[in-house]
């Protein structure tokens, strides 16, 4: 089964190479992302699969907003339709590139590490994480315990990306006015389906965040689902005056909260002074509070990104 999915994976990537039309590129990218997510799941990493699925959807939305603008110009439709005439001279460059890539691939195949890898770190992490950090999910234990620096800087990069997108995105007025930001409000099917789906999304997001330390899921995945919930509401109820500045401010406060908790719990080593009877409670409280903070931060950040793209960049 894994082999089949991986073969499909390669095929879905190969389809993109000769494609010239922008919309098709984006749809193929979406399909590729979906297959990648399935492959991750089959490789025993549901956390990464969930993150990849959500991220694939978000990137596709951003690309589609670009493509919509691209096809808004009539000349682009015609340019996409025109096929370049075949010429032997035009084939030289791709042929050279193909030769280069094939050669590099043939070289690299020799460097694939063979079986019998050292599993020292894996054994250590898997046997010790329950006493060191707590919880049942080893992945959460690693990114909130052993490698909390990674999480800190990653969260910082997301904050920086949101701020950068907000400042780079072009706008004349402060809010999207005049043009309606979406057409979904007029569609009864969309309104009804969002009404049915959005409470489920909210419950699922909260479930993922609160149970991130014992099952697959966690702050990032739950935050992404929460952002999807807010986006659904935004699409249907046509909210034009979201104070996006305060959403970003809130995200920054959540980031400060994450940093403060990390400093107190991990860097100062408070765990050594906790009485033995309270250790389990203490560990769970740490994991859940970190997951909640990360989830809210990610939800705010992604909603700000989406809002910026849809309401400002789309015009």
């Amino acid at each position: 089964m894994t082999w089949g999915v991986l073969v499909l994976w390669i095929i879905s990537a190969l389809v993109i190479v000769p494609e010239r039309r922008t919309y098709r590129l984006i749809i193929y990218f979406c399909i590729f992302s979906l297959i990648t997510s399935a492959a991750y799941f089959l490789l025993g990493s549901p956390d990464v699969a969930m993150a990849e699925a959500a991220i694939g959807v978000f990137s596709t939305i951003f690309f589609i907003i670009y493509a919509e603008k691209y096809y808004g110009l009539r000349e682009n439709i015609e340019r996409d339709r025109v096929r370049k005439r075949f010429s032997a001279k035009g084939l030289i460059k791709p042929f050279m590139a193909l030769l280069l890539c094939a050669g590099a691939f043939a070289l690299a195949v020799n460097f694939i590490p063979q079986a019998g890898m050292d599993d020292y770190l894996k054994r250590e992490y898997l046997t010790r994480f329950m006493t060191d950090v707590g919880g049942e999910n080893a992945v959460t234990a690693i990114y909130l315990g052993y490698r909390v620096y990674d999480t800190l800087f990653e969260a910082l990069i997301l904050v920086i990306a949101v701020v950068a997108v907000t400042h780079l995105s072009y706008f004349e007025q402060n809010q999207a006015s005049g043009t309606s930001p979406n057409e979904m409000t007029t569609s009864k099917i969309a309104v009804l389906s969002v009404r049915i789906i959005s409470p489920i999304l909210l419950a699922f997001g909260v479930y993922l965040i609160l149970n991130g330390h014992i099952t697959a899921g966690g702050g990032f995945q739950g935050g992404l689902v929460l952002a999807a919930f807010f986006i659904c509401r935004y699409m249907v109820y046509r909210i034009d005056d979201i104070p996006i500045g305060s959403v970003i401010r809130m995200e920054e406060y959540f980031y400060i909260g994450i940093t403060v908790i990390t400093i107190i719990v991990v860097f100062l080593g408070v765990a050594a002074y906790v009485p033995a009877a309270l250790v389990l409670f203490y560990q769970n409280a740490y994991l859940i509070s970190m997951n909640i903070l990360i989830g809210l931060k990610v939800a705010g950040g992604f909603f700000a990104l989406f809002y910026r793209f849809v309401s400002v960049e789309r015009r």
Partner: protein, 119 residues
């Protein structure tokens, strides 16, 4: 099975070299990242059968550690995915600006326009 991720890496390298459209370039950059992630996840698996996710609800599961996927690459790639997305968001917004200014996102056309300007 690591062959697949290597193959994707070099397919996307080929795409990066030959693509004329910037959207395609961005997509192939994301593909490259995906291939590296897949390679890492693959490295964490010892047995060829479908491995169990690293969620240990029962200490008896630790007896046969070869059947459990390695949690470390997963935690690292989770970080890498979010960072890759942040970078992509900034790239796409710059693409939008470029399109607004030049009306196209083909590498060669923008280069020609710039050459005309400087002449």
């Amino acid at each position: 099975m690591e062959l697949f991720s290597l193959a994707l890496f070099f397919i996307s390298l080929f795409g990066l070299i030959t693509s004329k459209n910037m959207v395609k370039t961005v997509i192939f950059l994301m593909f490259m990242q995906t291939s590296v992630i897949m390679f890492w996840l693959k490295m964490g698996i010892e047995s060829t059968a479908a491995p169990a996710p690293p969620i240990i609800s029962d200490p008896n599961m630790l007896k046969d550690i070869a059947d459990i996927a390695d949690p470390l690459p997963q935690a690292l790639t989770l970080t890498a995915i979010i960072i890759g997305f942040s970078v992509t968001a900034i790239i796409v917004i710059m693409l939008n600006h470029l399109f607004r200014q030049y009306g196209t996102t083909e590498w060669q056309e923008i280069e020609e326009m710039e050459n005309k300007k400087s002449c």
